[in-house]
Structures are given as structure tokens and as C-alpha cells.
Symmetry: C2
Subunit: 377 residues, 2 copies
């Protein structure tokens, strides 16, 4: 952006010592197959645009007024969705803002916060921002989480579930165990991808969201987002569910940073999304189905695919040359995410796209295989 040498003389030491989060790139040119930031391949519910358009038609003048500071209607819709009381629901400007407030509200304590060593890369950034010690607990060899490895003093635990970038799911029994073994710590379950998780337990679907635990466990806080399963990354809405005392802490913290984080249109659009249950159920099932077929095709191509419960797959070319595969795909206009980090440098995280996008990816991988021998090293 600038060729100037940055003059940090007037910065706080906090500002100087930050290592900000680096989101996945958002290249803007056409015909790109963007499978790198886990956006939903389907558009949001048409009701979202309709509700916002209606507000603009009937009440555009009201944009001159401050929005509802606590997003009451949206929180009421979310409370109804999960059969909760409205005071068990918090909303913010994307789940990233919610997570920042979580770190400030519950983790700024003497003891460290525990998180998996391989997880959402914003967690270490928040820890630095809020001066919190983060202890990273190693995932097992198969990238699963063993709750027993979390048996150490802490102020809190944060786990993405399904975890990113692995896509693996932790069971509710394990989450309950973590909460009961750490009754003086807040256990945060970051469920950005939970709506794509699905487990058959005999003939019925087993519950996977920890929202079902919050009435039992007063130290579980669950965060979710509209950016993935609700196809609304562009609208910036995230939420948290927990017992009213936890929600009150978040509300106080919010009102000490920024009283009105959700604009009027985002509140209206997000509310419309929550109310359109049919569309939500239909599209999330489509993503799950597409994930299953993508997984099958990658397996045929000799990729190791972790069992994903998210809208992405975490895969390893059998020879491990993930970085070369990512570069070769990029030349074909297909962007996937490669993390140049210990333990996962041999893997690629690939967002589940539309059927066409997935086919384009598979075709490109087949070409690589045959023509360039990239995956052969």
C-alpha cells in the first residue's frame, strides 16, 4: 500500500508488538475458482435480500437513527431457534468480534487459556492483543482432541468444533467432560462450522451443537457465525450462546468498546435468515452432500481425506507435496489454502464448492497427476 518506511514512534508498545491476523486472500478477478476461505457455495436465503430491500423501500429514512444497540429482534429470533431465553444470546459484528470480546471478558486472567496447537489462527492473535498467555495443546497423531490432555490449570479453553482446518468433530460427551473438569474456567466452543456436522446415531440424527449443553453447564459458551452455513460472510454477524451471566459479561464488554456493532440492515437481514428454516436446512444438506462426493473423488485420486464435518476438506496428497499442488492449482485459477506450519505443511484445506467448482478442481488434479507428475514429487 505504501513505500514509506513505517514510523512507529507514536505507537503504543501494544501496537508495535502485534502480529495481526492474516485472512485468506480475496483476489477479485473473474473465472477464479475460490476454494480458500470457506465461503458457502450457495447464495444466502432470498428472504435476506427481500427483507433488506423492504426496509430500504419503507424506512430508508430511518437509517438516520441509531440501530437497536442490543439487536433485540435478531436475538429473539436466535433464542426461538434454539429454544433459549433471549438473555442467553449475544450477537456481534461477525464471530471474530464476538471472540475478541470473549478473550477480554473471560480469559484476561492470571492463568493461561488452552487451545489446540492446530486450530483457528486468530486465537493466538487475540491472546497477544489482550495479553493472555495461550498454551497450545497438541492434537493427537490423527488430529483428534483428547480431553485428558487439557488437565492443567487454566482460565479458559477454546476449541473450534468442528476444528479448523482439520474438520474433525469433538463429541458432546467430551465437551461436557471438559466443562465439568474445569468448572472454574469458561469453555468456549467455536462452532463456526457446526451446521455442516452431521452424525447418524442409529436411525436418528445425534445432536452435535454444544448449545444443547448450556442449560446444564454454566461455564460453556458457544460461538457461531452467519458467515458459513448461512452464506452471509458479507453481512458480518456472529453470535454467542451461554448462561445469562456470561452473556452479561460480553454485553458489558461490548458497551465498553462499541455500543452499536450491528447496523440496522445487518440486523434485519440476519433475522430474515434465521426465520427461513427451510432454505437453511436445504442448503446445508446440499453442502454436506457435495462434501461427501468431493471426499469420494479425492480418495479415488489417492488423496488422504480427513473425515470432515465442515464445509471444507483437509487433504494430503499421498506424496505430501501439498505446496506444489497448491501452486499448480493456482496456475489453473483454482485457489486452495496451504498452511506452511509444522504438522500440517503436507495438507491442503479445500473449501467445498458448487458441483461445477468441485469438478473443475478434480479435473485439474487429474491433469496434474498425468501431465506434470507434480504429486509424484
Amino acid at each position: 500500500m505504501s513505500e514509506l518506511k513505517t514510523d512507529t514512534r507514536l505507537w503504543s508498545s501494544k501496537a508495535r508488538n502485534l502480529s495481526p491476523y492474516v485472512p485468506g486472500e480475496q483476489p477479485q478477478h473473474d473465472n477464479l475458482c475460490k476454494l480458500n476461505t470457506n465461503e458457502n457455495p450457495f447464495p444466502p436465503s432470498p428472504k435476506v435480500g427481500e427483507a433488506i430491500a423492504k426496509i430500504l423501500e419503507q424506512q430508508a429514512d430511518d437509517l438516520r437513527l441509531y440501530p437497536a444497540p442490543e439487536s433485540d429482534d435478531l436475538r429473539a429470533a436466535l433464542a426461538q431457534l434454539y429454544d433459549l431465553d433471549v438473555n442467553q444470546v449475544f450477537v456481534g459484528n461477525g464471530s471474530d468480534e464476538v471472540l475478541a470480546l470473549v478473550f477480554a471478558s473471560f480469559f484476561m486472567k492470571e492463568r493461561p487459556v488452552l487451545a489446540p496447537d492446530i486450530s483457528y489462527s486468530f486465537y493466538p492473535v487475540y491472546a497477544q492483543t489482550f495479553g493472555v498467555e495461550l498454551v497450545q495443546i497438541a492434537l493427537e497423531e490423527d488430529f483428534s482432541i483428547d480431553p485428558d490432555t487439557y488437565r492443567q490449570p487454566c482460565s479458559g479453553i477454546i476449541i473450534a468444533n468442528p476444528n479448523a482446518p482439520t474438520g474433525l468433530l469433538l463429541s458432546l460427551a467430551d465437551i461436557r467432560k471438559l466443562a465439568s473438569e474445569h468448572s472454574n474456567a469458561v469453555v468456549v466452543i467455536d462452532e463456526a462450522y457446526i451446521d455442516f456436522a452431521h452424525i447418524k446415531d442409529g436411525n436418528s440424527d445425534a445432536q452435535v451443537s454444544a448449545v444443547s449443553l448450556i442449560n446444564d453447564c454454566d461455564n460453556i459458551l458457544v460461538t457461531q457465525t452467519f458467515s458459513k452455513s448461512r452464506s452471509l460472510a458479507g453481512l458480518r454477524v456472529g453470535m454467542a450462546f451461554g448462561n445469562p451471566s456470561l452473556i452479561e459479561a460480553l454485553t458489558r464488554m461490548k458497551n465498553s468498546f462499541n455500543s452499536y456493532p450491528l447496523d440496522k440492515l445487518a440486523q434485519v437481514g440476519a433475522t430474515a435468515s434465521v426465520l427461513d428454516i427451510d432454505y437453511f436446512e436445504k442448503t446445508r444438506q446440499q453442502v454436506i452432500d457435495l462434501r461427501q462426493s468431493l471426499t469420494a473423488e479425492l480418495t479415488v485420486l489417492d488423496y488422504e481425506v480427513l473425515p470432515s464435518h465442515a464445509n471444507f476438506v483437509f487433504v494430503r496428497p499421498k506424496d505430501g507435496n501439498a505446496s506444489a499442488v497448491a501452486s499448480a492449482l493456482r496456475e489453473q485459477g483454482i485457489i486452495v489454502r496451504h498452511f506452511d506450519k509444522p504438522r500440517i505443511a503436507d495438507y491442503l484445506r479445500i473449501t467445498v464448492g458448487t458441483a461445477e467448482q468441485n469438478q473443475r478442481l478434480i479435473d485439474a488434479l487429474k491433469e496434474l497427476h498425468i501431465d506434470t507428475g507434480v504429486t509424484a514429487g
Copy 2:
């Protein structure tokens, strides 16, 4: 919201010790004359709704994608408006979020930050949130700011200009003096209301915004908002202008809290507002004109009215019984702001409304005067 006794056991001490900001009330019933939160009496530019509606019509599906993280188009429009480089412009989720990032980026230092004793009541809240010592410098007897009273060691200075709730304006000469006398401190000028300031200097309009100083003074940072002069409180957009190194600090801090604070629709709507210069000039002049006539009428009613450069007036009933006047007005459905604080308890802050609203206020005050004798005693 809840009758439960709050259990703060799991809160951080930070969360426990906060005294969150309390915004002016937003009662929802009809026929209320809401002159308490300094919203613009005019609607936003029609181009705002049109631009958002067009995006919804043509690209609603793109809400599934993350928005531009640095709001490039909006920043480019603001840069052009003020003849700046885009790397001198920062935007955030309302100027409240921008101010929070300012405190974290520039004021978290050993030395205190200085602010007027009577000013925006969010400043002491931010100081507490970020563990910054705030030294309040007394305004003069007439509520003006004397730059000489700021001659003390500090990490920064923050001044609302025009100040709130007084409406008084500090000159650019005084701001320049503050900046040069504190070359190792960031001088933040919070210009939420600057577009309503207007000074005739001979035959031409004198410049009042400190944005004109940022190329000269590398330690001046100016914040502004879309909530007042642009009638977009409902859209949550604020901005900061300063030298590229200051902007880079804010950007890094933002990316350590929340990478995508402005949703796609807010970016599009705010950009359309900036580009509609004619509408902006017309409505801000109308507000200024309405302020002048309201001031004249209040003066006739024997109210002392401070010379306001904002979209509100700060007034004192001659007998000082401001609280009783506010209560009596409320019974008539007219809400004004009374601050029960030292030095200003005898004053009321009244937002400039439409001609009709202002007339309703004046009529109600006349009635009070005659019928109830409130102001007499």
C-alpha cells in the same frame, strides 16, 4: 432483562471493573419528539438506499463472500473528498470502534492521556477498557478550551471538536499549537460534529476541520462519523485521517480484533453518501440554519444558549432548573438530554430537529413558562 443475580465468578477482573458507556435512550413509541441523541433530522442521501438496493438486485448472492477487509472503495472516496492519499484514511464500524482502536494504538502507554473534563462520556470508558490513565483538564469558566492548560506530560490528547455537549469550537491555530507542543503525543481531534461548524472569515468560509493539518502535523489524527452530518447512524461507519504511520497502527490493531468490521452493504451505502456532495452540502446547511433559528427563539425565551457549531444546542434556563424542564418536556413527549454531572447539571443538550420539531419544543417551553412556572422555580 433478567431478574437473576449476576454471577461474576467466571468473569475477568477487566469485565468486573468496567463501567460501560450508556447511550442516550432510544424509546420506540410514536409521536415522540426525540431531541436527545443528536441524530440528523433529515434522511440520508437517497443515493445511499439506491446504491444498496442496486447491489441487492444485482449481487445479493455475493453476500456469501467476505467483504473487502480494508473497505478500499470507501477509503478511496474519502481520500478523494479530502484530497488525501488512501493510506491516510482508515474506516471502522462507527467512530466509536475507531476511537476504541485509537486508545489501544496510541494511548496504552506509561503517561496519561489528556481530555477535557466535560466532553464525550465514552472517553473515560475507553480509558478504563484499555487501562489508560485519563487526566481530565478543566474547561474554562465559559466552557472553552485553553491549550495552555494542556502543558503537561502525556501520551496523547483527545478533544471533541466541536466539543460535546457544549458545541463550542476550538480553532485550527489552537489545535496546531497543541500538536507542536506535544510532538511525542498523538493529538486526536474527534470531529463527529465538524460538518455543522461554520465560520465566516471576511467574505469566505474559514476552514475548521483539522484534516487540513494532517499533512503538516504528523501527530494529529482526526476522527469523523457518518452518523451525524450524513444521517447514517443506522449504518455504523466512522473514519480516521492521519499520516500513513498512524493509519497503519490502526489497521494492525483492527486486524488483531476483527478483520472485517464493515459489511458489504455499509461499504456501498457509505461510499454513495460520500459521492453525493450536493445533498450533503444542502442538508448540513439546513441543519445550520435550523440551529440559528432555534438559538434565536430560545434566547427570546430567556434561555442562555452557548454558541453551537454542532447539530445540538447546549442551553441553560435562566433559573437553572434544567432537570425540571427536562421532566416537564418528557411529559409532553419531547425528549432532551440532561447530564446530572458537576458544572453542567444546570444545562440541557437539545438536538436540532426539523422545523416542526423545533416549533413543538418552543411551544412546549412557552407553555411551561406560562402555566406551570417550572422555569421560575
